[in-house]
Symmetry: C2
Subunit: 144 residues, 2 copies
DNA sequence: GATTATTGTAACTGACTAAGTTACAATAAG
DNA sequence: CTTATTGTAACTTAGTCAGTTACAATAATC
């Protein structure tokens, strides 16, 4: 369980709130509280999944590649995860007690993981933005 | 994500199939394909959760502490897991952008994890045994 | 009581993973 | 040309995981 999904959600929420204005990896890293290289590794995966786009050079940064309503959190999770398993599988040899048990166990684990991913799938970046942006704006106004 | 839950399910399925006959950690380890000490560490947690009982000395071993119908897989999972989280949380400071985003993200992660655990909760050791034991017996008969 | 089988547990090892750092090439704006 | 930025490789440090070794505690059997 690494932090990539958490960072990726932070990135997607941040980019959504900026409505197309590019955000640099330095700004994202500073906001999240990590280093720019760590963020960029996550950004590369989000780019490969075509969820964001990046431009180099001055004024560059990342923006969402689609409408926030067209991106759900399962897509974000799968973009940054090689093997989306939350419960370890046991490779018991078929025909042994371990193999027969493992077959059942692996099925149950798969079903449980599916339930988790379907919950993520039901939430879009637009919904996240709708929940979060007003609170961010309120926080900024309070300070000025 | 360690192997404790996978091992624990193997143990519970094995013990259920023996219907009260004690099984040693050596037998369990050999069946699963790991070492007795690794299994015993899991057995200790299952004992603390009062899901199994163990007796020392010759003829000793572990047995289920309750009817298999009264044990579900969520209880097994929680018995062997300190912090049942599948998605990492971000401790963003309240009042910052990171904090506001983290609050939303942590809620969504909690909801998704709840969906997974509820799926495990819906399956009992008795159901596992009913699925697995006939296949184990069939496998043994085939060999004789 | 001695022997033996078994659990319970601590200490250690080696391999792997995660997060961060440093360094630098590639790119593009002005 | 200078500067800001992405993209990426190599390395470090800390932590986790599975397994091993060793041994004390317990209990059945002879």
């Amino acid at each position: 369980m690494n932090s990539d999904f958490t960072i990726a959600l932070h990135v997607m929420g941040f980019l959504a709130s900026r409505q197309g204005l590019p955000v640099t990896s330095v700004a994202l890293a500073s906001s999240y509280g990590t280093s720019p290289v760590v963020v960029r590794r996550v950004l590369m995966r989000l780019q490969s999944a075509q969820l964001i786009e990046a431009r180099r050079g001055p004024g560059g940064g990342s923006v969402l590649a689609r409408e926030p309503a067209g991106i759900n959190l399962r897509q974000v999770y799968e973009a940054v995860t090689d093997n989306p398993q939350f419960l370890k599988r046991h490779p018991g040899n078929a025909g042994t007690i371990a193999g027969i048990l493992a077959e059942f166990v692996n099925d149950v684990c798969g079903e449980a993981e599916r339930a988790l991913l379907e919950t993520l799938e039901a939430v879009t970046v637009e919904e996240m933005d709708a929940q979060v942006r007003p609170r961010i704006l309120a926080e900024f106004c309070k300070r000025e």
